[in-house]
Subunit: 425 residues, 2 copies
């Protein structure tokens, strides 16, 4: 495999034109779209339009005239197409953490009413911390227990007569492990539990089939593979047959059946609209919509299936190049080798130096990130490289591994400047 | 009082130059800044900078390099200067409804631990509905009761040995009544209750003294008098001696003591930072900061005291002109005549036609809004006119009343087109 071979793969790639949708800094190889997606070209003008025309000129009238009031549902409908959900089933609003609080509350409330002996939430110790923190808070409030398993293989055996909810992030942020949503949801249901999925690292990156794969509740992030911008609104989905059966506790006015009647008693809206709370974040939703549109642009080229196939080809190439060109440099693969179990990232473990190596790579214009290990679940420190099939090229993967080879060959990562930790990693 | 007299008041107004901070559509008289503040001139460029430079070029590095991570506290510190709070005591994040959920939860948790017999939340029936909806939800979860009084005068007598929290919006959105924060907080404390204040219609409009006036918890809105844009982030404040004693339930990662350690157990940050939840909404916070800066620009000209004095002069003029130039037209004053009890708005009640009259006025370029009455608390339908001393001129008030006079004199409000209700009012 040569660099020219990588260029040939790009030349043959039917999805290659999608990259033109983005503003990518010259010379930068950005493998951190699973932390913050890059800027779509359409976003700046659209945000400007919202600010200067819709807000500046239209003012309060834009709640009607510019459709601001329907933004959570309009953007939600677009996201639904990417995650195997139907129109009217998703809303875009608030943060992933806040949405997780809503859906996990509703799930626990449902179990308290119908199966009060079910008082355990099952999750992974390596799940993204905010998911665990929210679950910890709700477990305390509902008199439940949060039980963490160390490895995906331990999940089915952990499900039982006391399980209220199985709560997983479909693609683990640290290991890149892609859970089998269909079989784990079925296992949860067989045990009498509900299945709640966080799609933070899967929406827009892998084929998600919420309805077909039996999920009950889902939330996801707007600023990773959906390219919605820093702190973009997140989204929530609830299986239609469950959605109107229980209220969620963040019963703000925008989730009311008739918010503009300004009546004192809460009456939840039908369907997913009851998962809204406060006034929609209009500028953030407009930027998110531009981001979601960049993924929907793939629909004419094979959609999520085509994006997924390219993502797998990119990560396979990454692994192959690490094995052939970085042999003996102390890296081992920490993400699944099996295509069916690997999300859109490659994680490399190294006994020491992972943080500094990532910094040295960034200094060479290759942006990945570092995630600290955790002795409790046996996870090592990792270098994490996310690929975004909308804009990552095969030659980017080739060049990234080559830069990593140079960082190791020159030992430049041992320079003290690369060992200074910043506040945010 | 002639139009020239109004122009003379503007000419003599030391705050008049502050209007140049805003983009106000030509010819529009905007008296709805208590619903959505107008666009500051600085906002479009700042938002563009965040989108194209900080996000587009800086990408993930901007969490550190552009200070994104500290935005909730940085903007919070600026808001603190407007509401009588100290640096490090306010965070800007989420919506008002979500923040209210956090602080009311914390207040109820505090009482459950320390005075479990206190199980009543006292509020006003005419409080903004989202406040009541959130309180209703939390009352159910905590086994408490939400008890609503019909008139401000009834509040002190409603406080007693069973009161957990007195929850009020400092300026009532419908009546414009400005509560006496100091005396009502003292009455709540004398009864052993906590005092929670929603500043949605007061932050940036009246002099708020959270610390001096004895509030325990406060939330507020970013898109009204703070000019932060549609659906801007809101804010939360907790009295320093209470803030670290209890957790709030939305325990997301950004409120963690060390979010970037990615550890599975929740450990709340010290102080107000524990009231953060998910990833900061960067674009929204940048726009909000521009809006808050427009209010802080008044500091050199007398600050909130000067803004408040002008606001009162504007509403006094409005009332005087209605009485002299609209006598016999069926309007009665629904907002307090007493300066000390009136927020930054004038409300006119009318037996019928209030909605259509507002629409006819909007067609003439004068934007106020309509709020429906409620027979249960004896409130009539109202026409609501907010004044924003940063940009409302005396001549705007004169012209608005003149246009209202013409609407009535021509009976044009009786045209069917002004009676069609839109989805959002």
């Amino acid at each position: 495999m040569t660099r020219d071979d990588a260029l040939a793969l790009d030349a043959a790639d039917a999805l290659a034109p999608l990259r033109a949708q983005f503003e990518i800094p010259d010379g930068l190889i950005y493998l951190d779209g699973n932390s913050l997606g890059v800027l779509p070209r359409a976003t700046a003008a659209r945000v400007q339009q919202v600010v200067t025309a819709e807000w500046g000129q239209g003012l309060i009238g834009s709640w009607n005239a510019a459709g601001w009031m329907q933004l959570p549902q309009r953007v939600g409908d677009k996201i639904a197409r990417l995650v195997g959900a139907g129109a009217g089933e998703v809303v875009a609003a608030d943060s992933t953490s806040v949405n997780l609080y809503k859906v996990l509350s509703a799930a626990l409330r449902m179990q308290r009413a119908e199966a009060p002996q079910r008082r355990v939430i099952i999750s992974e110790r390596s799940n993204f911390p905010t998911d665990l923190y929210i679950a910890e808070s709700l477990a305390r409030e509902f008199g439940c227990t949060l039980r963490l398993v160390n490895a995906p293989a331990d999940i089915p055996a952990a499900l039982g007569a006391d399980t209220a909810v199985l709560m997983l992030t479909q693609v683990n942020y640290r290991t890149g492990h892609l859970h089998d949503m269909a079989s784990l949801s079925a296992a949860a249901h067989a045990a009498g539990a509900l299945a709640l999925w966080d799609l933070a690292h899967s929406a827009g990156a892998v084929e998600v089939q919420l309805v077909a794969d039996g999920a009950d509740f889902a939330v996801g992030c707007g600023y990773k593979f959906l390219n919605g911008g820093p702190g973009a609104p997140a989204f929530a989905w609830v299986r239609p047959r469950l959605v109107s059966r229980f209220e969620q506790p963040l019963s703000g006015w925008i989730g009311h059946a008739a918010p503009f009647e300004f009546t004192p008693g809460y009456r939840p809206a039908a369907g997913i609209t009851r998962y809204l709370c406060g006034t929609p974040s209009v500028i953030g939703l407009a930027a998110l919509e531009c981001g979601v549109d960049t993924v929907l642009a793939a629909e004419a080229l094979g959609g999520m299936a085509a994006l997924r196939a390219k993502s797998l080809a990119l990560t396979r190439l990454f692994m192959q190049l690490v094995e052939t060109r970085l042999a003996g440099q102390g890296f081992s693969l920490a993400s699944p080798r099996d295509d069916a179990r690997r999300g859109s990232q490659v994680c490399l473990a190294r006994d020491k130096g992972a943080y500094a190596i990532v910094q040295a790579l960034i200094a060479r214009g290759v942006v990945g990130d570092f995630r600290a290990g955790d002795a409790r679940d046996g996870l090592p420190d990792i270098l994490r490289f996310g690929v975004t099939p909308l804009y990552t090229r095969f030659v980017d993967v080739w060049d990234a591994v080559e830069q990593l080879r140079l960082v190791m060959a020159s030992a430049e990562w041992q320079q003290p400047r690369f060992h200074q930790r910043s506040a945010v990693t």
